[in-house]
C-alpha cells in the first residue's frame, strides 16, 4: 500500500466515522424535538400526555375569548366535535379571530387545559394552515368547496 493510498483510506475512514456520528446525532435529535399536531378529538381520546409539547390545531370557538386582568387570555379551540380550553399569556396575532383557524404551541396541564407558549394564526384571509384543514377533515367539518 502506497503512502498516498494509506492516507486516502485513513481519510475515508475518518469521513465515514464523522458521517456516522452526524447521522446518529440527527436521528437522536429528531426524536427529541418532534412536535406532533393534534386536534381536540385526539386529546379527547387520550392521545396526548400532559407536559409533552405539541401543536394544537383547530378553530377558535365563537364567543369563547376571555381576557384576564393582565395580558393573559383564555379561549376554546374546537374541531367541531370536541373542544379544548386554552390559556395563553401573550399578544395574540393580528389575524386571530373567533371562528377562524389557529395553531397553538404548548402542552396540556394536569387539569385538561392547554397552556400555550405561542399562538399562530394564518397569514391571510384566504389561507388556512394545512394542519387545521387536516383536523377539520378528520372531524368531518371541512367542506372542500367552501373552504373556510
Amino acid at each position: 500500500m502506497t503512502p498516498k493510498k494509506r492516507r486516502r483510506l485513513a481519510f475515508a475512514a475518518a469521513l465515514l466515522a464523522a458521517g456516522g456520528v452526524l447521522a446518529a446525532a440527527i436521528i437522536y435529535e429528531l426524536g427529541q424535538n418532534t412536535e406532533y399536531f393534534r386536534s381536540p378529538s385526539d386529546i379527547a381520546v387520550g392521545r396526548v400526555q400532559p407536559g409533552i409539547a405539541f401543536h394544537l390545531g383547530g378553530l377558535v370557538e365563537q364567543k369563547s375569548l376571555r381576557h384576564g386582568s393582565g395580558a393573559d387570555v383564555r379561549f376554546t379551540v374546537t374541531d367541531g366535535k370536541q373542544t379544548v380550553p386554552v390559556e395563553y399569556n401573550g399578544v395574540l396575532p393580528a389575524l386571530f379571530r373567533e371562528g377562524q383557524g389557529v395553531v397553538a404551541l404548548g402542552a396540556m396541564n394536569g387539569a385538561g387545559t392547554f397552556v400555550a407558549s405561542e399562538v399562530l394564526a394564518k397569514h391571510d384571509e384566504k389561507y388556512m394552515p394545512p394542519e387545521v384543514v387536516d383536523a377539520l377533515k378528520r372531524s368531518g367539518r371541512w367542506q372542500e368547496s367552501g373552504g373556510t
Partner: protein
C-alpha cells in the same frame, strides 16, 4: 389586448429557448466532427438574447397590467387594488404564484444572456452551457404556460381588485424576492457550466463559472439577510430566524453555494477536487429547485405558500427529477473520463477547503433532514409533526461552530503544502483578540452564558484574523482582502446572533394612558392611541414615550393596521436602534377603555446580524469586481503562493 401580447411573448420565448437548447448542444461538438457547429454556436448566442428580450417583454406587460390596474387579467384582480401605492402595485407582480414564476424565468433568461455575453471559457463550453440553460428555460416556460399562466383573463372583469396580503406590502419585501431569485436561479449558471464541462470534457469550467457563482452567492446572502430582517421587524415576535421550512429552503442553497465557492477555488488554483466541484455545482441548483418545490407546491404552511394546486406541485416534481436525475446521470457517465484531482499534502490549503466542504455539507444535511422529515412522515403515515428550533440548535450550531474555528487557518496555508507552525504563529494576535473578547463578555454581560463567551471568542478569532490579514499584507491582491472581509462578516453576524439570542429582555403588559413599563435599561410611558388614515389602511397608532428620568427622550409609534380591501389586520412595529442595541415595540390588541397590550423587547447587537451579512456580501462583490476587471484569462500557473 395587453394580456395577449404577454402570452405571445411567452410563446416566442419558449420557441427560442428550444432553439437555444438544440443549437447550444450542437455547438458543443468539435468543428471537425460537425461542420455546422460554429453556426450553431452563433444561433445559440442569438437565441439567448432573443429569449431574454421576449421574457422581459412578457414581464413588462404584466407589470404594466398591474400598474394600470387591468382587472381583466385574473392575477391582477386577485392580487392588486387601485388604492395600493405604486411601488406595491409593481411588487405585487411577484407577490403571487404566477408572477413570481415569471420573475424566476426572467432571472433565468438574464443569466443565459450573461453567460452569452460574458462567458469566458472555450467556445464549445459556453455553447454547451447555453444549451443546458435553454433546456431549463424551456422546462420552466412550459410550466408557466400550462399550469401558471399569468395572463389568464377574467370575464367579466371586476371593478376592484382583491388587494395584496398586507404582510407583503413592505419595502423590505419589495426587493427580497428578486434578490433571492437572483441567487437561487443564479446557481443555474454554475449548474449549466458543470453539465457543459461534463459534455465537452473541458476542465477550465471552474474559472469560467466563477463570476456566476459569485453573483449568485452575493445575491443569496443579501436575499437571506433581507428576508430575516423583514421577519424581524414585520412579524412582531422580535425573532430573526424561525427555522421555518421556507427559510431553510433558502439557507440550503446558500450552504452548498458557499461550499462550491471554496471547492471551485481549489479546482481552479491547484486542480484538486475536480469531480467533487462538479457534483457541488449540480447539488447547488438542485437545492434551489427543491426549495422552489417546497415553497411553490403548497406542501408547507407559510406566508410564501400562495395557492395550492396539486398539478403545479406534480409538474415541479417531474421537472426536479428530470433536471437532477439528468445531471447526475451525465455525471456518472462522464465524470470517470475526466482527469482525477491533483495531489496535495495533509497540511495544505486544499485540506482546509476540504474540511470547509465536509462541515458545510454536514450542516446542510442536518437542515435538509429537519426540513423534509415532517413531509416524509406525513406522506408515509399521515402524521403531522414539526421539527422545532431545539433540533437545529443541537445539530446545526455545533457543526457550524467547529467550521468557524477553522476558518482563519485556511487562508494562511499554501496550496499543495503548507506550514502549520508558521500559520499558527501568524494567528497569535488573532488568538489574543479572541481571548480578550471572551473575557470582556465574561466580565460585562449578565447573566453569564458559556455559549456567549465562546461565541464572542470565536467572533474575535474570525475578525482578529481578518484584521491581521489586512494589516500584514498591505498591498496584497484583493482576493485575500475579499476573503478576509467575508470571513470577518461571519464574525459580525455571530456576535449579533449570540447577543440577540442570549441576552434579549422582554416585557409584556396591558397599558392604559400614563402607565409605565420597564424593559432592560429603558423606561416607557404609554401616552394613548390615536386613529390614523394611511393610503390603503386605517391604523391605531400608540404613542409610547421613551423616558430619560422625567424627560421624554423620544416618542415611538407602533401601530395596528387594518387593510379594508384585503380585510386583514397587521401589526407595524416601532424599532429604535443605537447600532449596538435595538428597542423593539409591538402593539397588541385593544382591551377597551384605552387599554392595549404592549410587547417590548431589548435585543443587544441585533443590527450586527444583518450588518455581518452585508460585510460578507461586500467581500463577495470585491472578489467579483477583481474577476471582471481581469479580462484576459490568466493561464493556470504552477503552485501559487498563498493569497
Amino acid at each position: 389586448m395587453i394580456g395577449e401580447l404577454g402570452q405571445l411573448a411567452l410563446c416566442f420565448a419558449l420557441a427560442l429557448s428550444l432553439v437555444m437548447a438544440a443549437a447550444g448542444l450542437t455547438g458543443a461538438r468539435p468543428n471537425e466532427l460537425n461542420n455546422g457547429a460554429a453556426t450553431a454556436r452563433g444561433i445559440a448566442h442569438g437565441a439567448a438574447m432573443g429569449m431574454l428580450v421576449f421574457v422581459a417583454l412578457a414581464f413588462g406587460t404584466l407589470t404594466y397590467a398591474f400598474v394600470t390596474s387591468d382587472f381583466s387579467i385574473a392575477v391582477v384582480a386577485n392580487n392588486s387594488h387601485t388604492l395600493k401605492p405604486l411601488i406595491y402595485k409593481i411588487t405585487g407582480v411577484w407577490g403571487n404564484h404566477e408572477g413570481s414564476m415569471l420573475l424566476w424565468v426572467l432571472v433565468l433568461s438574464l443569466y443565459a444572456g450573461l453567460v452569452s455575453a460574458l462567458g469566458r471559457g472555450g467556445e464549445r463550453l459556453t455553447s454547451a452551457a447555453l444549451g443546458v440553460q435553454g433546456l431549463l428555460a424551456a422546462a420552466f416556460l412550459l410550466f408557466i404556460l400550462f399550469t401558471s399562466n399569468p395572463f389568464l383573463r377574467l370575464d367579466p372583469a371586476p371593478f376592484e381588485g382583491a388587494g395584496l396580503n398586507p404582510l407583503l406590502q413592505d419595502p423590505g419585501l419589495a426587493i427580497h424576492p428578486p434578490m433571492l431569485y437572483a441567487g437561487y436561479v443564479g446557481l443555474s449558471a454554475s449548474f449549466s457550466y458543470a453539465a457543459a464541462a461534463l459534455i465537452v470534457g473541458e476542465e477550465g469550467w471552474a474559472r469560467a463559472a466563477r463570476p456566476f457563482m459569485l453573483i449568485a452567492w452575493i445575491a443569496l446572502t443579501c436575499g437571506i439577510a433581507l428576508g430575516s430582517w423583514w421577519a424581524y421587524y414585520e412579524l412582531g415576535w422580535g425573532g430573526f430566524w424561525f427555522w421555518d421550512p421556507v427559510e431553510n429552503a433558502s439557507l440550503m442553497p446558500w450552504l452548498v453555494a458557499t461550499a462550491l465557492l471554496h471547492s471551485a477555488l481549489a479546482t481552479e488554483k491547484s486542480g484538486a477536487f475536480r469531480t467533487w466541484t462538479l457534483l457541488l455545482a449540480i447539488a447547488g441548483f438542485s437545492m434551489s429547485l427543491i426549495g422552489t418545490f417546497l415553497v411553490r407546491s403548497g406542501v408547507l404552511s407559510s406566508v410564501h405558500a400562495f395557492a395550492t394546486d396539486p398539478t403545479r406541485g406534480f409538474f415541479i416534481m417531474v421537472l426536479i427529477v428530470c433536471a437532477i436525475g439528468g445531471a447526475l446521470g451525465l455525471f456518472a457517465w462522464r465524470a470517470p473520463t475526466l482527469k482525477g484531482g491533483a495531489a496535495f499534502d495533509t497540511v495544505s490549503r486544499e485540506t482546509m477547503l476540504l474540511l470547509n466542504n465536509v462541515f458545510l455539507v454536514a450542516v446542510c444535511a442536518s437542515v435538509f433532514v429537519g426540513t423534509l422529515y415532517p413531509l416524509a412522515l406525513d406522506a408515509y403515515d399521515g402524521a403531522k409533526i414539526s421539527v422545532g428550533p431545539p433540533y437545529y440548535a443541537a445539530t446545526f450550531a455545533p457543526i457550524f461552530f467547529a467550521l468557524l474555528l477553522l476558518v482563519p487557518l485556511g487562508p494562511r496555508l499554501n496550496w499543495r503544502r503548507g506550514d502549520l507552525k508558521a500559520a499558527l504563529r501568524a494567528l497569535i494576535p488573532a488568538a489574543a483578540i479572541a481571548v480578550i473578547a471572551g473575557l470582556a463578555v465574561l466580565m460585562i454581560a449578565t447573566p453569564r452564558f458559556l455559549t456567549g463567551v465562546c461565541a464572542f471568542a470565536v467572533a474575535g478569532w474570525l475578525i482578529g484574523a481578518s484584521a491581521v490579514d489586512l494589516i500584514r499584507r498591505k498591498g496584497a491582491r484583493s482576493t485575500a482582502f475579499a476573503a478576509a472581509l467575508a470571513h470577518a462578516g461571519l464574525g459580525v453576524t455571530l456576535m449579533g446572533v449570540a447577543g440577540t439570542t442570549l441576552w434579549r429582555s422582554e416585557a409584556l403588559a396591558v397599558m392604559g394612558p400614563g402607565d409605565i413599563m420597564h424593559v432592560g435599561p429603558y423606561t416607557l410611558r404609554f401616552d394613548g392611541v390615536t386613529q390614523e388614515q394611511g393610503p390603503n389602511y386605517r391604523a391605531s397608532r400608540a404613542h409610547i414615550a421613551l423616558m430619560d428620568g422625567a424627560r421624554v427622550q423620544t416618542t415611538m409609534t407602533p401601530e395596528q393596521r387594518i387593510y379594508p380591501a384585503e380585510g386583514q389586520d397587521m401589526a407595524d412595529t416601532a424599532i429604535r436602534t443605537t447600532g449596538l442595541q435595538d428597542l423593539y415595540l409591538a402593539l397588541g390588541d385593544d382591551r377597551g377603555q384605552g387599554h392595549w397590550t404592549v410587547r417590548a423587547y431589548v435585543s443587544p447587537l441585533a443590527p450586527f446580524i444583518w450588518l455581518g451579512g452585508l460585510v460578507m456580501a461586500m467581500g463577495g462583490m470585491l472578489s467579483l469586481w477583481r474577476r471582471l476587471r481581469v479580462r484576459a484569462p490568466v493561464p493556470a500557473a504552477a503552485p501559487q503562493p498563498a493569497e
